[in-house]
Subunit: 374 residues, 5 copies
Amino acid sequence: MSKKIDRLKIKRKKKYGDIGDSPGSIHIDEDSLKPILKLYSYNKDEVQESGGRSFESILKQLDHCKTHTHWLQINGLGDKKMLEEIGEHFGVNQLVLEDIVNTHQRPKIDDYGDYFFATSRLITYKDNVLDNSQVSFIVKTDLIISFQEDYENVFEAVAKRLNAGKGLIRIAGPAYLCYAMMDTVFDIYFSLLNNLGDLLEDVEAQLYDNPDKTIMYQAQGVKRSLIVLRRATWPERDKINSMIRDDSALISDEVKVFLRDAYDHCIQIIDMIESYQEITSSIIDVYLSIISNRMNEIMKVLTIISVIFIPITFIAGVYGMNFAHVDPVTNKVLPYNLPELSSPYGYIYCWAAMILITGAQIWFFWRKGWFNKL
Amino acid sequence: MSKKIDRLKIKRKKKYGDIGDSPGSIHIDEDSLKPILKLYSYNKDEVQESGGRSFESILKQLDHCKTHTHWLQINGLGDKKMLEEIGEHFGVNQLVLEDIVNTHQRPKIDDYGDYFFATSRLITYKDNVLDNSQVSFIVKTDLIISFQEDYENVFEAVAKRLNAGKGLIRIAGPAYLCYAMMDTVFDIYFSLLNNLGDLLEDVEAQLYDNPDKTIMYQAQGVKRSLIVLRRATWPERDKINSMIRDDSALISDEVKVFLRDAYDHCIQIIDMIESYQEITSSIIDVYLSIISNRMNEIMKVLTIISVIFIPITFIAGVYGMNFAHVDPVTNKVLPYNLPELSSPYGYIYCWAAMILITGAQIWFFWRKGWFNKL
Amino acid sequence: MSKKIDRLKIKRKKKYGDIGDSPGSIHIDEDSLKPILKLYSYNKDEVQESGGRSFESILKQLDHCKTHTHWLQINGLGDKKMLEEIGEHFGVNQLVLEDIVNTHQRPKIDDYGDYFFATSRLITYKDNVLDNSQVSFIVKTDLIISFQEDYENVFEAVAKRLNAGKGLIRIAGPAYLCYAMMDTVFDIYFSLLNNLGDLLEDVEAQLYDNPDKTIMYQAQGVKRSLIVLRRATWPERDKINSMIRDDSALISDEVKVFLRDAYDHCIQIIDMIESYQEITSSIIDVYLSIISNRMNEIMKVLTIISVIFIPITFIAGVYGMNFAHVDPVTNKVLPYNLPELSSPYGYIYCWAAMILITGAQIWFFWRKGWFNKL
Amino acid sequence: MSKKIDRLKIKRKKKYGDIGDSPGSIHIDEDSLKPILKLYSYNKDEVQESGGRSFESILKQLDHCKTHTHWLQINGLGDKKMLEEIGEHFGVNQLVLEDIVNTHQRPKIDDYGDYFFATSRLITYKDNVLDNSQVSFIVKTDLIISFQEDYENVFEAVAKRLNAGKGLIRIAGPAYLCYAMMDTVFDIYFSLLNNLGDLLEDVEAQLYDNPDKTIMYQAQGVKRSLIVLRRATWPERDKINSMIRDDSALISDEVKVFLRDAYDHCIQIIDMIESYQEITSSIIDVYLSIISNRMNEIMKVLTIISVIFIPITFIAGVYGMNFAHVDPVTNKVLPYNLPELSSPYGYIYCWAAMILITGAQIWFFWRKGWFNKL
Amino acid sequence: MSKKIDRLKIKRKKKYGDIGDSPGSIHIDEDSLKPILKLYSYNKDEVQESGGRSFESILKQLDHCKTHTHWLQINGLGDKKMLEEIGEHFGVNQLVLEDIVNTHQRPKIDDYGDYFFATSRLITYKDNVLDNSQVSFIVKTDLIISFQEDYENVFEAVAKRLNAGKGLIRIAGPAYLCYAMMDTVFDIYFSLLNNLGDLLEDVEAQLYDNPDKTIMYQAQGVKRSLIVLRRATWPERDKINSMIRDDSALISDEVKVFLRDAYDHCIQIIDMIESYQEITSSIIDVYLSIISNRMNEIMKVLTIISVIFIPITFIAGVYGMNFAHVDPVTNKVLPYNLPELSSPYGYIYCWAAMILITGAQIWFFWRKGWFNKL
């Protein structure tokens, strides 16, 4: 009978390195996926794609298309050697590599002069599990490298737009691509929030129609998801702000217009999160109040029925006593022992008394307003 | 018996676009209303009105009244082509058009040099549904375009004042008109808050006279409305502040005096919202306390009545036992079996004991103070 | 028996004007009192007083005492024409007049160059009603006008000090008078807070001596009063700060020393309000805990008494059964039917069993610690 | 039986002056103690002490030791005339005198050019009463006056250090003495917090060993003490900050190093207060949870025992009915009336049924897990 | 049966000095451990280690390796004389020595020109006791002294890295060593948080599988640990920020890059703490709701069973009454006394009535939805 509760789980990531590690040390988790590389080399007119599991072939294409802009997409971080090779080839600081691999970074942007490093949280929901993974970007003048923990092709739409070539996407440089991917992350947040909004509506409808304890679990699940989302979105605000205020040539004014738009989206997400948090709290409050009211209602019915029957059951008990009107041994009449029992109308008087008492009680409770709904 | 609960509903809007959409893409929801256009061309001396469903006729009038100031009122956003046409004609950025159509914007103002773009939330309450729609304004030196999602003529009073022509309305430029409409939105908030205030007073009166669970639902409804209002009003503050601090020629110092007044109204609204939130919380607290007290009172009565009857019912039970004073088979007298039953005054002693026990209990409870109101 | 609860009421004011009203429109509420005017014209040496219901006579005295400083005290705002006349005569902005009449302003100060406009909230408590009315001041170089909603002579003490003429009151200009009246408003807050403090002490004493539900109502009443006071005091802080930082000649450095003193008072009031809020919360928490404890104590007694009697009542029930030891029809002895009843010591064994069970239960409950106070 | 609750009391002070008082008016409370004066005149080499109840003798010594630095310690504020005399002699502003006497000031520092005025809150705990009195300091180039409400010699240790003459105390001027006294006040806070920490540990130990309602009262007492302490400490922070940032010659850089140390102490106190507040809340939460669990445990036992006996008591009731197997009048056998009673094994079957039902219930409750601890 | 609760204890430290102590006075707690000294003298090429309990031998090595950089590690603070000797030898302010010994400092950095003084909180968890001790650092151009309260070798990993000599550790000066130790402290926080995260997961799993009161205690334990951690981490943020913004030559730009990394770690820790706090609150909420639901479920079963049996037990009571159908004395038939008992089918009618009542009740409760799970 008890409904199966599909409790939301939040995927837990391992490991923050060991105590006293030197800074910049790269720890690859054993479960990490091996990297799959994909390189998009594009200019205004064309896009060339190549990929695979080795960095060699990528290097070849980079060499070949020297005047193109490049987007190197890396899915899977499970190869320490390759990452260090990439880091060395593109002149990336060891601390950055550590941040790419240690996938617990808050969204942030670090400007290293000739390149900047940015991270975002990618929050996806599948089969009741909320997965909070990390995407990182290294952006140079003619190159963007994107790092992702798993093989999910979340930036497919960006690749399509790149292939289609409409708008600014092939013209506005790697920072625009970075913006486009960040905005895709926001779109994923929006879609997640939409799902949570639908869920909250369902929960609320159930709350008024047929409240049961799944409401508590689901509301808590939503709450936990919102906590995760908020932790991912708040630092995004500062990050985009930093990008807009950045003076370096890496982020052109053209891109900043779009970053301002992304900033608005970010604020909107935060707003929705806060609204949903307040709605969730309100649902939990109403739920607790409903449950408490229902219990009270049930208890009240018990109270009233019990209290009505208790005195009359006592009366029945009194006249069920066996005090002997006639002594069984001597046969002497004992006139003071339960004379009511031999009264011709005793039984009728007894019922009359019981009905009277019941009526008096009902009248008393009615006057007290106990028959009203709480 | 159970009172019908008219639970407040908040109209939910669809859709935040798809994942990975390019910025500036316009998605028209299928349910969107087709636009109705209305053009007011005015100068110090006269107001010309025209309107309809096509942009052609509007263009004609714009051409005709070149020295006038124009107010183009657009109700309904369900025509992608027309909006793009309007955007192109007036030189409006694609991102602005996206914000006009994607009606989930927070109140904000974006200055684009030769025009500014502003949005407000229009919150109306009808038939237990709170509708949170968007109005947007594009303000140029001699033109204001107002966009609204539906056909509600909320700015009727502004149009009337324009026709009447008193005060600054025809002189102070489109920014004044923008101010007038924003202030109208605030007037709508005030009137909504007045209704909520009346509702809170009713709820509070009921709370002390006849508390039932509708109080919880209504208080939660008010709470939710206040959340929506607060989310709409807080960003208004920053928005008006930006407008007051704006250096562009679009907002004259004359208008800024009025904006300061609007700012005061905005703060006053926020103040009222916060007061009402505290009152709502206090009502909920008192309600929960009353309910709990009432339940406790009922439970106490049960306790006392039960505890009074339980021992005497037991006594009645004892003397209802059938231990044989005379063995039914051998007819031997068994003197230790319930001798009380054959005592001449047994029944009277029994009542005496029961009355004594009851009295003792009542005295005990009275001394404990259990007969006092909780 | 039920104690009459004198629930605190907060006087509700009407009306925020109509939707779409043009700014500066003056709405006089029908209930508004007709203005009573009083003019104090003073210089270092003397004070001249005159007054009445018409502005004519005031104008005459103003004309007559051109070198004096004037304090025009207006009680009652129910005359639109007169207010507009006054506004025009003294060159007051239409928006200021609107703020004077629309008595929902937060405390604020607006500097209009040759005069400044300030408002404060006057919070008085009479007959269980908290009245939150508005006082406004217009201060020019040699004139101060004070506006009050009702006829209460709250500034009597200031008038007396003016008549006495000690200290700076006749020398330091109208801004000092404005300060003196603001400080009087703070004195009223202090006295109100003193009353609330006394009330809290009474409530707390009752809480530990004889808690009942009036505590909840009174604590909530105090809470509501504190909300009103806080909303009135917080903006005062900013207001006085603005006055101290004001550069205009209207507020002399001499007066600013006193304003700093008023600022300290304001902070002290906020401090007291916050302390009282925390005390109120703490009282409510303790009250709820006491009530819950008391109910638990009562329930525990029931539990124990019930549980003690339930098994022995069952035993009495068993030996009250009528299984026939002798078949009433055939008179055959049925030896397995309740043989205990014909045992010579059956009744005594039965009591022994009942006493044993009761003792075992009491021992069990005692060992569990259920006889201790919760 | 009920443990005596030593509820913490907070000494309440009277009076905030009357409504409309002119600024700077000095109100001496009738209960105020008469001042006792003590003058320490010191230079690098010696300390001269004198004292008494009259200001005359003090003046004499001041005159006599013109090149010394002076510390005038005033305990008790109950002499308006003397205070005004002192004020006049040292050129102290009337508003400062008012603040000295009106002992509700928040900690603050006011710089008056040739002297500064500082106040601190002296919070002491004795016999379950928390006394929150005021100490004030007037610091000039070669003089410090300390004012205290009562005769408690809290600055004894400072006087001793002055007599001992080690360190900077005789060299670094009156501001150092002011710092030393402020730091003594902090030491008193630390010692109070240490006591509260010990109390919290006791309460927590009791919470897990033997929770009863004294926990609630004591936790609330701690909470109230912490509120008082926090209100005293928060403004100290700003005050010390002001002193450190002060440019006047009254506070030398040498002293500022020590003030920075005092600032750290102040932050540490605030930290401890906040920690203790969180611990107190946590204790209250655990207490409420324990109480609720215990009640639930008791209720569960009742439930199970009741529910086990209710059906079998009913069965006993059924076979206690008197339906006549043989009509008492006609002696006709009525075979359908309770034939079980004349069945030879009726009683045994009856017991079998009762045992079965009991067993079924116990099995049901056990399967439901109701025998586990909550 | 009752599970042993291993309640988390927080080690409490003694003593904040006495009231009125002069600043800079050093109080050694009697329990303090005697210092063990260890000196690492290193340059780019080699590391020399020496140590022991006397400062003499240290001085000798310092003298011997004049061009080396030194790390003097002091474990145990229980020797006032030695500390003063060290302070004097290295020119350390008396107030700094006081802060080293009074181990209640918040994390902070004080710049004294030619050296800086920094403290961190070292929080370790062992055998259910959370130990919050202090580590302090004095950093000069070619020397770092680290002070620790106990003998735990927490900086072993740093010493190993120094011996290995990879990276910047031997080149970047004492500030880098200070950073490395601070980062080690953060690593310890991370590992503690990881343990708390595992514990929270266990608690949450238990919450849904088998909730009992240990959940409350464990959640409170986590809460308390998080409070301690947060108090240690928040000031770290400001401290690192100060270090990054420091202009002195003591902290090179090279080290500041690493400090920025440490800052990110610090923010990450704060983020985790806040997440865990929210999760803990959510666990407690769900726990309370589950407990309440379970009690309600149990109470509901009682209610239903009781209410079903109460009326039929009353009926059984009625027909257990002994009203005499035939007067035992006169043998007169009393036809109105319980005629049902002599009705041939009385017993069957009686059962029919009881079954009917039971069925009606079950139907009523079912219709009310009381058989559904709450």
